[in-house]
Amino acid sequence: MPKRIISIIVFPGSNCDRDLAIAIQNHLNVKTQYVWHDNSKIDNYEMIFIPGGFSFGDYLRAGVLATKSPALGEVIRLAKKGVPIIGICNGFQILTECNLLDGTLMNNKNQLFICDKSYLKIENNKSIFSKNLKKSVVQFPIAHAQGNFFASNDSLKELEDNNQIIFRYCSKQGVINEKNNPNGSLNNIAGITNKQKNILGMMPHPERAINKFDDQDGVLFFNGLKELL
């Protein structure tokens, strides 16, 4: 049995690593360890997080340069072994760029960076990442320039048919429509898993919704992962 430590992969330019570590420590009650991108071995892999930020400046395309780091090679290997992996924001972009997740994240429809609150409908409450969320709509902040989810028709159909869509942008009341789609994502998709459902990618930031002065739905998210340990 590996030690109970969660790994957070850190790339040059990651900037949500600290916030994520705090959320995990406080609400999942488990230690975290940063893994610098040039390590080709990850010792603690009970669960792996890929944080938000601007890995390698988001140059070329958000997330793509990070996929060439040694640590990502290891993430891919462990992913195939079924290790739970969660990529948030830039982490989601990285996971699509290295094909662990389907689709891609294009520029926001309005061509601007968007920082705002977002409401998310829990579309699949059976997945290991969402089954303990206890709410049907949660609120997490978003902050990204490339969060406009796109996938080919075939991929999209698969995502929908397999219940791989975990979160969709919606109104406070849970209405999913164009008006409540902040960035132009296909079918309001905000978070998906892979087919095996051990990898989650999401644009919104649950780690930014854990403080008393925030809306605290992030606490539910991290608490809900306890079962995985």
Partner: protein, 77 residues
């Protein structure tokens, strides 16, 4: 040896940037605009070698382009 790699969106992909530019152009009063699409290119210089093209192909596929939405084309300059 210099290669130029052209990258553009696959057919049918709606590129929000091009859409926005198109709108601005017609707001600017240019009525004859029929279509506009955007792409990027990379000029890559490598040292003279046998399988240079192969390498450029690999880089274009694995790094420079995103196969979900983009095509690439390589020409030798």
């Amino acid at each position: 040896m210099i290669y130029r790699v052209y990258i553009n969106y696959k057919k049918g992909i709606l590129d929000p940037e091009s859409e926005a530019i198109k709108k601005t152009i017609s707001n600017m009063g240019f009525k004859s605009l029929k279509n506009l699409s955007k792409g990027k290119f990379f000029d890559i210089e490598i040292s003279e070698k046998k399988n240079g093209l192969k390498e450029i192909e690999k880089i274009s596929k694995d790094l420079l382009s995103n196969p979900v939405i983009e095509n690439f084309k390589i020409i030798k300059k």
